[in-house]
């Protein structure tokens, strides 16, 4: 009897949630800006998906003449080592969006470096921010002080030194994105928690003598998810931006798998001979990041319109 009741309750809840989920998604298409963003991002997602199974040629083998301009066999030309640029561009999406290579082996886990990095900073930032915002007092002071130091910390030094310590690797880049992203997320989560904790349902939970962690993660966090998600979307853009910059500086994702930033960096030395090898990956990074930004912007505007 009891189990049945809870099951029917669950069903009811699912019924209630489903249309609201679809509503949330369809909001995106209400805004022209967000639609353009979604199209740009899905374009790259599709390419990433295709590249998992098929690329025109092997991205890492030097099969062709160096620095060819676009032609019938190599649609986008070849790079300074005679590798097909289209294949490399396609494969370049994988490390960002689809897979993370684990150290010391051929294994990789699903979810790209940018995705895991942002997820990491969301988790770390939410823990710090909720604690600071809900507990307040000394905890708040200490956490904010540490975060201030982290924000003031010159990020490029952080990367260089962490990478020098742990060696180049996908996990290191994830760690770097996590650490540099967390303070921002924490600040946002803190301000949201400060606002939400004045509500009555938090008083109610406190009266029920719920544990602090329950209140923070089951009462406050779900009510703060909207702004946090929009922020996370923007952060994925920044993370890709950052991966590109690190690759450009020669300290990003390890070879031999192509990564757009390092492609720009390598091709830059031959810029007088072959400008297209620089242009393609540069354009790719720009379009993907712009797409994510448009998406997040449109989403935020629509959400705010609903709030009004």
């Amino acid at each position: 009897m009891n189990a049945e009741a809870s099951a029917s309750n669950k069903q009811k809840r699912e019924k209630r949630e489903k249309p609201s989920l679809w509503k949330t998604i369809s909001i995106v298409f209400d805004s022209r800006v967000a639609t353009v963003g979604v199209v740009m991002v899905s374009f790259w997602l599709v390419i990433a998906g295709v590249s998992l199974f098929w690329t025109p040629y092997d991205p890492n083998s030097s099969d062709f003449i160096q620095n060819l301009s676009p032609n019938a066999t190599n649609w986008l030309g070849t790079d300074h080592m005679g590798r097909d640029l289209l294949s490399r561009l396609m494969q370049g999406t994988q490390v960002i969006l689809l897979k993370t290579r684990l150290p010391g082996g051929d294994h990789s886990i699903p979810g790209g470096v940018a995705i895991w990095g942002v997820l990491g900073s969301l988790i770390l930032g939410a823990i710090l921010g909720l604690n600071a915002g809900y507990r307040r007092g000394w905890t708040d002071q200490i956490i904010m002080q540490v975060l201030d130091a982290l924000i003031a910390f010159p990020q490029i030094v952080l990367y260089l030194v962490v990478i020098a310590a742990l060696g180049q690797g996908d996990l290191v880049v994830i760690l770097a994105i996590t650490i540099t992203g967390a303070p921002g997320v924490a600040r946002l989560a803190r301000s949201l928690a400060l606002d939400i904790q004045t509500r009555d349902y938090i008083r109610a939970a406190e009266t029920r003598a719920e544990s602090v962690w329950f209140i923070m993660f089951r009462e406050i966090l779900p009510n703060a998810r909207g702004p946090l998600l929009v922020d996370a979307m923007l952060r994925v853009g920044y993370a890709i931006f950052m991966i590109g910059t690190l690759g450009f500086l020669g300290i990003g994702l390890p070879p031999p798998d192509p990564d757009w930033g390092s492609m720009v960096n390598e091709a830059r030395k031959y810029i007088f001979v072959n400008q297209l090898a620089v242009i393609w990956p540069a354009l790719s990074i720009a379009t993907l990041v712009i797409g994510l930004n448009l998406f997040a912007d449109g989403l935020r505007e629509e959400l705010m319109r609903y709030q009004k």
């Binding site: 130091a149 810029i271 540069a282």
Partner: protein, 432 residues
């Protein structure tokens, strides 16, 4: 207000301490054996050990941190017979450590088992005289002496038991007998204004860093002067025309510019102006230290790159804030009561619309420093960012620490200015 100031000063100091400790630990764990970078991969383990001892790297971590922060001359002094003094080298203008023996600046060396005083002459050179009487009898009936050597170290000589040391000279490593047993590389510490020696350049950090900071300030300053009026202008323009084609154009262009990484923008600019049109120099070549003043065209592309990224960001912030203000009731009232439109915008809207961008711009400076690193690396501009990049790759501890302290200070000072500007613009804000 006073309480606010005290609080922010204390918090600043704590932040700086935390950053410096964090950096120190990271570099300690991260950068590996510095002797590999300086001596090369072919040096023997003995050579490395000797060289590390000369750099004072055989001391424990906490002691090296304290030495860096508050100096070590004060505790080196307690072991020495004669008081330490610092003198300016007349040629290099760098500070040198000497011992004061009755008014005579003196250093010591051991030669063929004998201790010698090096007396400083007027012309900066020194004269060697025997100094057998300086030996001090210690425990186990050995004779020792703490003096200052030629390389600004406090050193401990032991009679009849000179260490074999490897000294780095211009021609490479040279073996020397009769070396000291222990080295303390003398330094005053950061809080007393001595940033230490750069291992990469083998000169004091302050000497190497100063022109770099100047160059970066010129670059960032010019960029700031170009960006701010333009960004505020376009932001306000887009904000008062919300939804119109003009707003769309400004918004989309600025979004595109912000979302394009600096290195992409920089390379496109190099390609267009340096390679295709051949009108502007694609790199900054510093043939002399004041090359930017002789040939200011070198600055154009780096400044344009920084501008592209920052302009979009600030313009977007200004636009958003302007839209919000123009939407508010008091603006509507002002328009309805028949005030000229431009007057409503200039007298009523702008002041309130500028509050948000100003604080955000000031918080944004740290991010700008990251952008400066990339721009300086692309264009080979010898500034602070490239200095940080090079020193971090080299593992040059004192250099990274000093440069990082400068960037942290810049970040904190701009944040304070932002806070103050906010209070000036917004009389409602009162600090409890």
């Amino acid at each position: 207000m006073i309480r606010f100031l005290v609080r922010s000063v204390v918090s600043t100091i704590v932040t700086i301490l935390l950053v410096s400790i964090g950096l120190f630990l990271l570099i300690e764990v991260g950068s590996g054996d510095i002797s590999v970078k300086i001596l090369g991969v072919f040096a023997t383990p003995e050579q490395r050990a000797s060289y590390r001892a000369q750099l004072g790297l055989d001391a424990p971590v906490w002691q090296r941190y304290l030495d860096w922060l508050i100096g070590n001359d004060w505790w080196a002094k307690s072991r020495m017979t004669y008081p330490l003094i610092t003198l300016k080298n007349t040629k290099t203008k760098e500070t040198e450590w000497w011992a004061d023996v009755g008014g005579q600046a003196t250093r010591w060396k051991m030669e063929k088992g004998e201790l010698k005083r090096l007396l400083r002459q007027e012309d900066g050179f020194s004269k060697a005289v025997p100094a057998v009487s300086d030996w001090i009898k210690g425990e186990n009936s050995e004779y020792f002496f703490w003096g200052v050597d030629n390389r600004n170290n406090a050193v401990k000589f032991v009679k009849g038991a000179g260490e074999e040391v490897w000294v780095l000279t211009k021609a490479g490593l040279r073996k020397q007998g009769d070396g000291p047993r222990k080295y303390i590389p003398l330094r005053k510490g950061l809080i007393r204004g001595d940033a230490g020696m750069s291992w990469q350049y083998n000169r004091p950090v302050s000497v190497v860093l100063k022109p770099r900071i100047r160059n970066t300030l010129i670059l960032a300053g010019v960029a700031f002067v170009v960006v701010m009026p333009l960004a505020l202008f376009f932001g306000i323009l887009a904000g008062i025309n919300e939804g119109k084609p003009l707003d769309r154009i400004v918004s989309i262009t600025s979004l595109g510019a912000t979302a394009t990484p600096e290195f992409v923008t920089g390379i496109f600019l190099i390609m267009i102006f340096g390679i295709w049109l051949k009108v502007l120099p694609a790199v900054t070549l510093f043939t002399s230290s004041d090359a930017i003043f002789k040939n200011p065209t070198m600055l154009i592309l780096p400044v344009l790159t920084l501008t592209a990224v920052e302009l979009g960001y600030v313009a977007r912030m200004t636009r958003a804030s302007m839209v919000e203000v123009m939407d508010s009731a008091y603006i509507r009232t002002a328009i309805v009561k028949g005030m000229p439109y431009w007057r409503v915008v200039f007298r009523h809207a702008i002041r309130n619309a500028l509050m948000a961008p100003i604080t955000i711009i000031m918080l944004h400076v740290n991010w700008l420093i990251g952008g400066v690193v990339v721009v300086e690396v692309i264009f080979g501009y010898p500034g602070l960012g490239k200095f940080i990049f090079d020193s971090a790759i080299f593992g040059d501890f004192s250099a990274i620490e000093a440069a990082a302290m400068v960037t942290v200070l810049i970040a904190i000072i701009t944040r304070l200015i932002g806070d103050l500007a906010y209070t000036l613009l917004n009389p409602r804000v009162r600090y409890a």
